[in-house]
C-alpha cells in the first residue's frame, strides 16, 4: 500500500506532532512526551479519570476518544504495539483529580501487561486504579470465554458511556461498574477484504486472494473464522448480524445501539449498504435500533473491510449514550 509518509520510523511521532498542532486546544502532552496525551483541562478535581491506550494505526482509536464525556488520557504505542508502562503512568498522573483512575482499553496481552505495570507504579503514588478490558470481538473466543476475546470497535461504546458517567462526577466504583456493564452487553464482528501495511514492516500484514474475504479477522490481521470468496454485502451483513445476535444473545424486544465501522479503505457508501441489511436483520428479529453510528470509529490503517457492533441498552445506558461528547475526532450534541 502506498503511503504519504516520511521515514517509517517517524510515523507515530510525526503523526502526533501534526495532531497536537491541529488540536492543541483540546489535547496536551504530559511532560512534553507526545506519547502520553491528556485533555487540555486535566486534571479535573473530584472527577474520575479514564485512561486508555494501545497501538497506533487505529485512529480515531485510541486518542481520538480523549475529550469531554469520553476518556481523559491516553498512552500511545507504536503502530500495532502497546504503549510503555511509563507513558501510561504519565497519563495517569496527568488526569488524576483525586477520585481515582479507570483503565479502559482493549484486551490485548501487550497492553494488559503494560497497564498492569503502570497500575502497580500508580498505586505506589497512591493513585487508585481499576481496569476494565473491552473484549467484544465475537470471532476471537467462544461465548463462555467471552472475557478472553479481543477488543475492537466496541471500545467506542465503552468510552462513550463510561465517559458520560465519569463526567457526571460518579465514583470510581460506579464508573467501573457501568464500563463493565457496557462490555458485558457489547458484541462485534468484522470482515476483512485486504490487509494493511505497517510502515516499518513495509509489507502487507497477511495475504488474501484477490477474490477472497475473511469473516472474523482481527484488526491486526489475527485469523478469523471463515475465509471465502468475496460475497455480496447483504450476505456478509446477514451472517455477521446472525453471529453477533446469537452470541449474547440479543432477543426480540431488545433495544440496541448499532455501530457499522469502516476499517480504513472501505468507503462510507459501502458502510451504509451494510447498515441497510443489518437494520433489516434486526427488524426481522424484532430488535429495535435506538441509535446508529456509521463511519470510521476504529480502523486498521488502510485495511479494507468493516465491523458491526451491537450494544444492548437499558435505561441507564441509553441516558449515558445520549449525553453530549466532544473531542477533535468525535462530536455528539446529544439525542
Amino acid at each position: 500500500m502506498k503511503k504519504l509518509i516520511n521515514q517509517p520510523e517517524a510515523f507515530v511521532d510525526e503523526m502526533l506532532e501534526g495532531l497536537l498542532l491541529a488540536h492543541g486546544c483540546s489535547l496536551r502532552s504530559v511532560r512534553s512526551d507526545n506519547r502520553a496525551l491528556i485533555r487540555a483541562d486535566s486534571p479535573r478535581a473530584g472527577k474520575v479519570g479514564i485512561v486508555t491506550g494501545g497501538g497506533s494505526g487505529h485512529l480515531p482509536v485510541f486518542l481520538g476518544y480523549v475529550g469531554e464525556g469520553l476518556a481523559d488520557g491516553v498512552a500511545v504505542g507504536g503502530v500495532f504495539q502497546s504503549p510503555g508502562a511509563e507513558q501510561i503512568l504519565s497519563a495517569t498522573q496527568g488526569v488524576n483529580g483525586g477520585a481515582g483512575v479507570l483503565y479502559l482499553f482493549g484486551n490485548y496481552q501487550g497492553d494488559v501487561l503494560n497497564f498492569e505495570m503502570a497500575g502497580e507504579l500508580a498505586e505506589m503514588e497512591d493513585i487508585p486504579t481499576r481496569t476494565v478490558l473491552v473484549s467484544d470481538d465475537v470471532a476471537s473466543a467462544p461465548p463462555e470465554e467471552w472475557q478472553k476475546r479481543r477488543g475492537v470497535a466496541g471500545l467506542f461504546f465503552a468510552y462513550k458511556i463510561a465517559g458520560a458517567k465519569a463526567e457526571s462526577m460518579a465514583s470510581l466504583e460506579e464508573v467501573e461498574a457501568v464500563a463493565k456493564k457496557v462490555v458485558a452487553n457489547t458484541r462485534s464482528m468484522g470482515v476483512a477484504l485486504t490487509p494493511c501495511t505497517v510502515p516499518e514492516v513495509g509489507r502487507p500484514s497477511f495475504s488474501i486472494g484477490d477474490d477472497e474475504m475473511e469473516i472474523g479477522m482481527g484488526i491486526h490481521g489475527e485469523p478469523g473464522i471463515s475465509r471465502t470468496k468475496l460475497r455480496p454485502a447483504d450476505e456478509v451483513a446477514a451472517e455477521i448480524t446472525q453471529r453477533i445476535v446469537s452470541d449474547l444473545p440479543f432477543k426480540g424486544g431488545d433495544e440496541v445501539a448499532v455501530l457499522v465501522n469502516g476499517l480504513g479503505s472501505t468507503c462510507l457508501e459501502e458502510l451504509y449498504i451494510m447498515f441497510r441489511r443489518v437494520a433489516k436483520e434486526l427488524e426481522d428479529r424484532d430488535i429495535s435500533i435506538y441509535r446508529t453510528y456509521v463511519g470510521e470509529y476504529a480502523t486498521s490503517l488502510e485495511m479494507a473491510g468493516c465491523s458491526v457492533t451491537l450494544l444492548k441498552l437499558d435505561g441507564e445506558l441509553k441516558e449515558l449514550l445520549d449525553a453530549p461528547a466532544h473531542s477533535p475526532f468525535f462530536e455528539q450534541i446529544g439525542r
Binding site: S82, A85, S205
Partner: protein, 211 residues
Amino acid sequence: MPGGLGACLEAVKNEVNEAKDWLIDLDAAIGDGDLGLTMARGFTAIADEYQQSPQADVGRALVRAGMTFNRVAPSTMGTLMATALLRGGKALAGKENPSNEDIVQALEAAIGGIGERGKSQVGDKTILDVLQPAVETLKRELADGKDLPQAWSTALTAAEKGFEQTANMVSKVGRASWFGEKSVGKHDAGAGLGLVLWRAIQKHFEAGRES
C-alpha cells in the same frame, strides 16, 4: 562473569541481533512477527546504555535495564523481559560480584516474574518452556559442583530440548493462543528467544574460557 555485566550484555545484544530474522519468522507464523525487531531494539538499548554509564551494582544495573527495556520495547515479550530484569535486579540489589547462588536466585526470580506477569506456566508454549528447565538444570549442576560455564553448557541442552518440545504444544496464552490447535507443529517464538539468550551467554563463557 568474564568482562563483567557490560560484556555479557554486549554478547546478548549481538546474538539477538543475529537471530533477528529467525525470531521474526517464528513470531510471524503464529503471531505478529515483531519479536525479532522488539528484542533487537530492547537488548541493543540496554547494552548501549550500560556501555555509556556502567554501574558496579549489578542489581541496580538490571533494574535500570528493565525500565529501559520496557520503554523501547513495550510488546508482550518486552514487558516480560522488563519484568524479568526488574525482578532479577531486585534479587541482586547491592551485589557487585554475585555468587553462583545469587545468580540462580536472580534467574528464579526473573522467570517467576515472567510467570506471574504473564499468568502462565510451563506447558503453555512460551519462553518459560525453555527458561524453566534450563534454570533447573543449572541449579542442579551447580549443586553437583560444576562451575558456572560447565553448568550453563549442560543447561543449554535442556533449553534446546525445551525449545523443541514447544512444537508439540498448543499455545495457551498470548497472540498465538488464537491459533489454538493450529499452533501445533510450530515452535514458539518466545521459546526461540529464550534459547538465543541462553546460548549467547554460553558462547560468552566459552569465549572467556578460551581467551
